[in-house]
Each structure stands twice: as C-alpha cells, then as structure tokens.
Symmetry: C2
Subunit: 334 residues, 2 copies
Amino acid sequence: MGQPQTSPEPPAVPSWEQIVEAHARIAARIHRTPVLTSRTMDRLSGAEIFFKCENLQKTGSFKIRGATNAIFSLPDEEAQRGIVTQSSGNHGAAVACAAAWRGIKAWIVMPRNAPSIKCEAVEAYGGEVAFCEPTMTARKETAAKIQAETGAVLVHPYDDDRIIAGQATAAKELHEEVPDLDAVLAPVSGGGLLSGTCLSARHMRPEIRLFGCEPAKADDAYKSIKTGRLQPLDSSDTIADGLRAPLAARTFAILRRELSGVLLVSEEEIIAAMRLLWERMKIVVEPSSSVVLAPLIKEGGVASIQLPARADGGKPRIGVILSGGNVDLSALPF
Amino acid sequence: MGQPQTSPEPPAVPSWEQIVEAHARIAARIHRTPVLTSRTMDRLSGAEIFFKCENLQKTGSFKIRGATNAIFSLPDEEAQRGIVTQSSGNHGAAVACAAAWRGIKAWIVMPRNAPSIKCEAVEAYGGEVAFCEPTMTARKETAAKIQAETGAVLVHPYDDDRIIAGQATAAKELHEEVPDLDAVLAPVSGGGLLSGTCLSARHMRPEIRLFGCEPAKADDAYKSIKTGRLQPLDSSDTIADGLRAPLAARTFAILRRELSGVLLVSEEEIIAAMRLLWERMKIVVEPSSSVVLAPLIKEGGVASIQLPARADGGKPRIGVILSGGNVDLSALPF
C-alpha cells in the first residue's frame, strides 16, 4: 500500500553510446573479422546464414574485444597495479594479450582442467597463470586473494559493463556489413557475448529476433529464460569448454528483455556441426562456436524458431557469431 | 647468316584485358575471399604477410576461378556437349561445380590414389568420376577417350589461357586490397595459379618480386627455372597432393620471364607450416597451401629472398596465396 507494485525497467546498460565508444577504443587493435557465407550451409538450413568469424579474431576469440575495452578504459593509476581475472581460457588469453598491449601485468586464474592449449596461450601473451580447483568458488577465492595481495584490478569475464560493451562490437560490425538480418544467434555461457549482441542488434535493427545457443548439458540460460528467474548451473561437463559458466544477474537482465529464446544443443550435434564447419567452410572453430550452427541445420530447425516472413519474400537471413577457434589439434573429437 | 639470332619475346598471354574480362565473368559466382593477417606470422617471419585465403573459396580452392572462366567462356553449342578434364582433385571439383552452374555435364578423370574427400566432392557437385592409373599418360589417355566418345570439351587444369586468366584474378583481388606489396609467393605445380599470379602482379605493380613455392619432392619448376629449360617431373610422392603435376610449356614461358626464383620446401616444413596455420590463424589449409608460408618462417627465410629495402623503411610486405583447404580430417598428418 502506497509503495509501487513494480519497479521501473532499468535503463539499458551498457548504452549504445558506450558500445560506440568501445568500438572506437578497440578498432585499431583488433581484427575486423570477415563475414563468411556458404551455399552448403544455406542449403542445409533453408536460410541465408552470415557467419561472423570471431574465431579469426586476435587471440582466437571475441574475448579480446571486451578485454581490450576494459583494460584501455582504466585510468593509469589503476592500470599500473595490473589485472587479475578468472577464465576457462579465452578470456584469460585476451586479458593477458590486452594487458601486454598496455604494458601492465596480468594474473589469470584458471581451473586445472582447462585445455593446455589455452593455458599455453595465456603464457605466450605474457600472462601469469594461477591454477585453482575447477569450481566457481575456488576461482573467485583465488582471484580475490591475488587482488588483495597485489592491488590488481579485477576484470570479470562477463559481469562487467565494459566487457559487455566490448563484446557488443562484434554484432555491430556484423550489422554494418549485413544490415537486414531477421535473426542473430550467439552462444551463451556467462552471457557477455550474447547480451552485448542483443544490445547492438536491437539498436541497429529493432525488429530483429535474438537467440542464445547453449549445450543441453549446461542449460542454465535456457532454464533462466524459461522460468523468468536466474537459475543455477547444475552441471557443466559439456565438450564446449567455453560454455561452462553461469549467467550473471547483469547479463540475465538484458537477455530476459531481449531474447526470443534459448536453443539447446546436444553434445553429438555440437561435434557434428563443428566438423561440418571445418570440412565445408575450411575454418577452425571450437565446440563452443558450433552451437550456433547446430540448431539451424537440424530437421525443421529454422522453421522452429518461427521468424516472420520477409517483406521481399526471400529466405530468412540469419547472422551467427562464431565465437572462437582455440582447439587442441592433438585431441579432436572426430 | 641472314636469319635472326633470337626470336622476339612472345606477347604476354593471357593479356591484362583477358584477366579483367575473366574477373567480370566470374566475380558474381565466386567468393571475394578475405585477406587475413597475423601478428604471430609477422613475428616469426620478420615481414608483414598478407594471406589471400583461397582455401575459403567456393569448392575449397582457387580452381573455381579458372574453371568458371573457361566454362562460361564457351559458346552454347560447345558447352552443351559437356566438359571433360583430368585432375588430382581440386580442379575436378571446380569443373564439376562450374559445369553444374552452367547446367552441363562434366566427366572428371582422377587418379586412383586421389584423396577420397576430393572424389566425393566431385560427385557432390554432380560430376562423374572416371578413375585411372596415377600416371600422367593414363590420365591423358582416359580424358582423350571420353572426349572422343562424347564430344566433350577438354578443359585442361592449367595448360589453357582461359584457366590462367581465371587463376590470375586471385592476385588481382589481393593487389586491389594491398597495393604496395614487395613480393608475392604462390604454390607451383602445373603453374596455372603461379603464372596467373605473375601476370596480375606484374601488371599492377611492375617492380614486384615473384616466387613459386614447391615441394622438394616434386621440384620440376625449380629445376626448370634454374636451367632455363622445361624439365620433367621425376617424382611426385609429396604430401602436397595438389602439387604433383609438371609445368606446361605455356606456364613455363610466363614463369621464366617473371619469377625471381622457386623456393623448395621439405615434407616436414610443409606439415609444420600447415599445423601452424590451423593453430594460429584458425583456418583449414591443405598441405599444398602451406608451402608458401614455410620459406618465410624458417631461419633467415625472408632475408634469403633478398627483397630491396622499402622506401618507407618498413618491413617487407609479402602477399601469399593460400590455394586450398580440402583435407581429409580423418587422416591428418599431425
């Protein structure tokens, strides 16, 4: 009584202006990755698919966008204390690389079961790896300890507006190149890439449909969107090693507002789509990337996401973000 | 006495006009492939390398350029009899694909030891595979027999000005994107890609240095350039299955005039460079492509090709053509 029944919708954060600023900050340091097409994939899907190839990005994934934006946003007096982060791999390599570009130190907390290729990448970029047990609690504690001891600035892999604004620049570039997309699909783990994708895509093409793609074995985003409440991540033993983190409240708030749905993908579908991308498109993608293709090439896949008919009568035009290409060639699943 | 001591230099064939016409004929049907760069490769080589990614081309190699130009150059009455060709793989797939685009039949003569992935590709594009023994004689005889029986038009993989003009469009695109290259390297087998590359590059940047790259195990181009006389191909048991054909007089005439040299690459260097391209650039290239990188990343590699100093004082800018990406993922050499 007397109190408002509902709180007002929070403002969209990060704002479009922050995304534009992020792009200006990072553009000269990163690759403007190509958007590839494939008649084979178009035939298999019945759609026109535009592949934004962040596997061809510096450090082998989109993560360099957010990391560069965050690290180059810091005032000098903060930056000089160095950076600490926790990462299953790609964010760690990106932070190590961006920190080296800025000439500052980076400590990367990684779970012991991270692929060795990702640990080696961190070290190759000059980062210092701090191993911990493969639990979110251990990762947070180890990062907090380093932060306390060194005064390093924590750059979270996704629960950070500077990171989200940076990741949003991939979809911004995709829309600059292909302005009339009907839908965009991106992988979802912690939600940094997907929430950034949502913000850019919604701003540039308000009527667009947006989907997350997630391993069925790590389906917290699916459950969270379905129930309207942030759900815990029960299990994460998927081959898609980049998709083993849970959503944050920050990313969930954006996804809840923008997503048309989350599409679940089986382990077999992930591996089959990955092999197809290698064989037919001649690009190396990691399992975490192939989740965006799998839903489109299965029987009835494009029909199931129920896109409105195009005014020009053409096939649906769908953008997908291939998030990374860091794979251990000595341990391929096919 | 009374007779000229030297015959006049023959005109450059195909002409620049034929290359421009070829590009206009094929541009809407093929991919304009991206030109990628990599700080890792720049660091390893001490140069700035620009990778023209024909592995990302339709049918997985540059061969679609020449095949499309040749097949769409034919008058209707010739085209309707169909096409016959001999190919170790990529040219066969390209002819099958371009013939299907034109709606005509294609017979592809292939050696029995061609990788199964390449045979399957020909069939997937609707081509008919005619197997023969893995000798140049058997291949020619089988193609001639089909030609005699069906009236099909023979489209040779490289001993054909229409093919050379088509292959030349890859270097044309590369120079349109990166106009100030100091050198271009391309693989050499029969010499279609390399001679076309020479014609485009020389026209667009007359002072450029041009190099062929060849497996040491199939070194007829090296010997031919070194001796100034067309040499036979003694052996061809290299892993680079796309580089097992000998030069033709037609391609040798161009290479002899334009090349600064042929760089030989060992089998181990081919495999190591291939793995490096997969791991660091996240692209699938076949062994025949990695011959262009190997000479640049070996100790003293760039110095050994003796490029003139740049007027701007910068590092050498080197274009390389990654020719294809058709690899059997079930039989990787690493």
